[in-house]
Amino acid sequence: MAGRDPLAADLAEYCLRLGDDRLVLGHRLSEWCGHAPVLEEELALGNVALDLLDQASLLLEQSARLGGVARSADELAFFREVTGFRNLLLVEQPNGDFAMTIARQYLFDVFDVHLSVALQASADSALASLCERIGKEAAYHLRHSREWMLRLGDGTEESHGRMQRALDELWAFTAEPFEADELTRRLIEARVVVDPQALREPWCEQVRATLAEAGLDAPEASQPMQSGGRRGRHGEALGRMLSEMQSVARAFPGASW
């Protein structure tokens, strides 16, 4: 966009990243509707999903406003191809069993709490106030997922085994949230966002404390880590998820419900 503030374009992309994290994770959680282990947990997962989808729509709208490319949050959600999505690989991982869903949620929630607290000091007042709201929701999400981590990790042999497997499988996706690329560095320079690397140590400390309390082993830190979500390089599972999520909007373009 000629003449457009380059910082606005960067911030548009940044909001798209945060929005996509929430859109994809929220949709993943909503896949539990009708399948959760008990009614109470079905409602709990649904509530978290609704919080995340609401955050996604605010962030995507903000991204659309700043970027001026797509017109609405709906267009961004339903009419981008998989390579256009900018979410973390962690959040697109399939639900698996309940332990996998909870582990994925917990690892994200700890990051989300630290990120949203830090971003409340952003030089961009819209982002700062959005993150104030996100911070409150994230704090509850974390309380919920952390309590389940403790109960599954320190529960039966079966639940412990499943939770350990889930952690081992998801650990490779836990470096990506703390990566900073050129775009992030420009925004850090402008004090619009925080350096995600600064969040890594507090994240590790908090996660390790919970795992210890739950009697779970922290997976090997030196294993090869996965990344690429921020550049649109996703696993095939996201393509399948999007084809379902986008099918109605694409079959009936412009329909409202």
Partner: protein, 98 residues
């Protein structure tokens, strides 16, 4: 015959307070394995819509309740003694919530 085994955990009664100072009112019940999860379930089931200031959960088994058979001895003696009712007293103006 044995009752079907409940695999959803313990039963908890949920009490919701709409604003500080008001009474906690029974809202319903949830299943959960322990206090913390019961509190979270209560929040998700009964406190997500509308204003809520506080939530209590109490294990249903901890509640002592009268049985229908207790009705005659517990309550009926009060029915015909209207002088025990507070309607004869004037409530001072400005007092609410009574």
């Amino acid at each position: 015959m044995d009752a079907p085994r409940d695999t959803q955990g313990l039963l908890w009664e949920v009490f919701v307070q709409e604003e500080g100072g008001a009474a906690h009112v029974h809202a319903g019940s949830v299943h959960a394995a322990d206090r913390e999860m019961a509190l979270q379930s209560a929040r998700d089931v009964y406190a997500r819509r509308g204003r809520v200031a506080s939530v209590w959960v109490v294990e249903s088994a901890a509640i002592a309740a009268t049985a229908p058979a207790d009705r005659a001895s517990f309550f009926e003696p009060a029915f015909d003694k209207v002088y025990r009712h507070p309607q004869f007293y004037k409530v001072p103006r400005g007092v609410r919530g009574i």
